[in-house]
């Protein structure tokens, strides 16, 4: 999945930032956000969690989910 994330992060770097947190080494936030499986994506905007989804998926689905949560229509 890392290549998908890396590609999306690069392509949409002007729209959103991608961050990664290793659930094995950072248990505090893993527990706090009730992470049950990986990968889990949680979208934050202005310091607030606005949504999330679980599971590996193609980049188009990944982008669609993220932009949908951000309320941004894909122009491409």
């Amino acid at each position: 999945m890392k290549p998908v994330v890396t590609a999306v992060a690069l392509e949409y770097r002007d729209t959103f930032t991608f961050a990664r947190l290793d659930v094995n080494t950072q248990p505090e936030k893993t527990i706090e956000y009730h992470i049950r499986g990986t990968p889990t994506y949680i979208v934050f905007k202005d310091g607030e969690m606005i949504g999330g989804f679980v599971g590996a998926m193609p980049s188009t689905n990944l982008v669609e989910n993220i932009l949908g949560m951000l309320g941004i229509e894909e122009t491409e």
Binding site: K2, L10, R20, L21, D22, T40, V43
Partner: protein
């Protein structure tokens, strides 16, 4: 000689016979009395013998018995004839006034009586005023006489007498002020009113002053029972009083013009127990010679008037507002430094402040107590005019340790610091080991201020991004400043870091520690990929 006397007596008898027709009723009383030569009240042979004994002689002035009956200067047959003509008659003796009581010129009252004493019972009494009664040799004339001048003429058979008197109006007691039975003090005065001016006034106690119909009796009277008898020319009156000891104010505590608080009390000490005590403010309590006046008194000027039976006194005081403690900082039982201070705030400026430890200063309603205090338990007692409090603190050992940097967004020497992450979080935080104050700034390596807002608060220093002043990639920055703790221990802030190259779209690796800053502090949307390495 004897023959001659006998002859004369014989002749007298013959003349008596010859003059038998001499009318006795026509006899002049003066002739009768002259015929009674020996003045024994009877005209008899003894009188004839006396005339006969001096017959032919001329009476001399030295003679106590005068046989010249007709007063012609010769003792002769005519005198014998006069004696013989009244022979055997009784002669009333003339009444001579011997004394008058009271004497002329005296002052009487209308119902007085005047006594005239005669040597013999007088006859044919008449008086110009009053009513007379005769008892033996005494004539008593009783009134009522008309007030004013009395010219009293008494006429009797043998004479008359005029005596002048002054008849004054008698004075009757009308009233006394205060009334009998009242209570007095030694220096009181008693006023007696009469219907007319009294005379010859005497009093059993005190001094009497007479003004018209009024007699004023002034003391000092002896304390106790006063049985006052007033005697005047016409009567007397006894009035009973109780003379109590008057009370004089000796001292006042606290002194006049002192400053009081509302619940203070004022004590007045008298030389004797005062009576009828009233006060204009407060409540009075009387115990023997002492009057205690208790508040609450109204704050401000107190003009306290104390009135008692014998006087009054006005005492001026200033009553100030009670001062109460409102708060103390730091809180009781907290920890102080050796050089710390304690601030007490009152509702009004306190007075007479003392503290058991430290040095205090008063500013308005605030008292500040400063050390140095002895490390350990501080039992501090603060006393002021209206109260006191005792507080316990713990005085810590002197703090000689400088504050240190314990963590933060960036550590000294960090490299590859993700500028985007910092910029997105817009905040750099530095943690200190204790509460500090001071300054903090973000500078370039050359020492120029980047323009972020630096703030030291509590045990944290923050640098907040100002829009347009974002961190640049691949740049060396210095977080500089200076902080000090409450004890004045200083620490220089000198954190140098270098930012990484510009964000290239590679996901940022976040940790639990910087999650708040990088993720929640991000100004642009951020997607976190929770992944499991491997």
């Amino acid at each position: 000689m004897k023959k001659l006397i006998c002859s004369l007596l014989t002749l007298s008898l013959a003349l008596f016979v010859l003059t038998a027709s001499y009318a006795q009723e026509d006899a002049d009383i003066d002739i009768l009395r002259a015929a009674d030569v020996n003045t024994d009240g009877m005209i008899n042979i003894l009188d004839l013998v006396l005339v006969a004994g001096f017959f032919g002689e001329t009476p001399t002035e030295e003679q106590t018995l005068n046989p010249d009956i007709n007063g012609d200067g010769k003792i002769n047959i005519l005198d014998l004839v006069l004696v013989a003509s009244h022979f055997g008659e009784t002669v009333r003796l003339p009444a001579v006034l011997e004394g008058v009581e009271p004497g002329g010129g005296s002052e009487l009252i209308p119902n007085d009586s005047i006594m005239l004493m005669f040597d013999h019972p007088p006859e044919d009494i008449t008086v110009s005023e009053g009513v007379f009664t005769i008892t033996d040799n005494t004539v008593t004339i009783t009134g009522p006489f008309t007030p004013g001048t009395l010219e009293l003429t008494v006429t009797w058979a043998d004479g008359s007498e005029t005596r002048n008197y002054t008849i004054r109006q008698p004075a009757d007691f009308m009233s006394s002020e205060p009334e009998s039975g009242s209570e007095l003090i030694p220096n009181d005065s008693i006023t007696l009113t009469f219907d007319h001016p009294p005379e010859d006034v005497t009093v059993s106690e005190g001094v009497a002053t007479i003004t018209d119909n009024t007699v004023t009796i002034t003391g000092p009277f002896t304390p106790g029972t006063l049985e006052l008898t007033i005697t005047w020319a016409d009567d007397s009156e006894t009035l009973n009083y109780t003379v109590r000891q008057s009370a004089a104010l000796e001292r006042v505590e606290p002194a006049v013009a002192s400053e009081l608080i509302p619940n203070d009390s004022i004590t007045l000490t008298f030389d004797h127990p005062p009576e009828d005590v009233t006060v204009s403010e407060g409540v009075e309590t009387i115990t023997d010679n002492t009057v205690t006046i208790t508040g609450p008194f109204t704050p401000g000027t107190l003009e306290l008037t104390v009135t008692w039976a014998d006087g009054s006194e006005t005492l001026d005081y200033t009553v100030r507002q009670l001062v109460g403690l409102e708060r103390v900082e730091p809180t009781v039982e907290s920890e102080l430094t050796v050089d710390g201070s304690i601030t007490l705030t009152f509702d009004n400026p306190p007075k007479d402040v003392t503290v058991s430890e430290g040095v205090f200063t008063i500013t308005g309603s605030t008292v500040t107590i400063t050390g140095p205090f002895t490390p350990g338990t501080l039992e501090l007692t603060i006393t002021w005019a209206d109260g006191s409090v005792a507080y316990t603190y713990t005085v810590a050992e002197p703090d000689t340790e400088s504050p240190s940097i314990t963590g933060g967004t960036i550590s000294d020497g960090d490299e590859d610091v993700k500028a985007e992450a910092i910029n997105s979080g817009a905040l750099i935080e530095i943690a200190f080991s204790e509460e500090v104050s001071g300054t903090i700034a973000l500078q370039t390596e050359a020492g120029d201020d980047v323009g972020w807002l630096g703030k030291i608060e509590g045990s944290k220093g923050t640098l907040e991004l100002v829009k347009g002043k974002e961190l640049d990639p691949e740049t060396t920055y210095v977080i500089a400043g200076k902080v000090e703790d409450a004890a004045g221990n200083e620490t220089d802030i000198d954190i140098t870091f270098v930012t990484a190259s510009a964000y290239d779209g590679i996901p940022i690796e976040v940790t639990d520690a910087d999650f708040e800053t990088v993720v929640l502090g991000s100004k642009i949307p951020i997607v976190v990929d929770f992944y499991k390495d491997g």
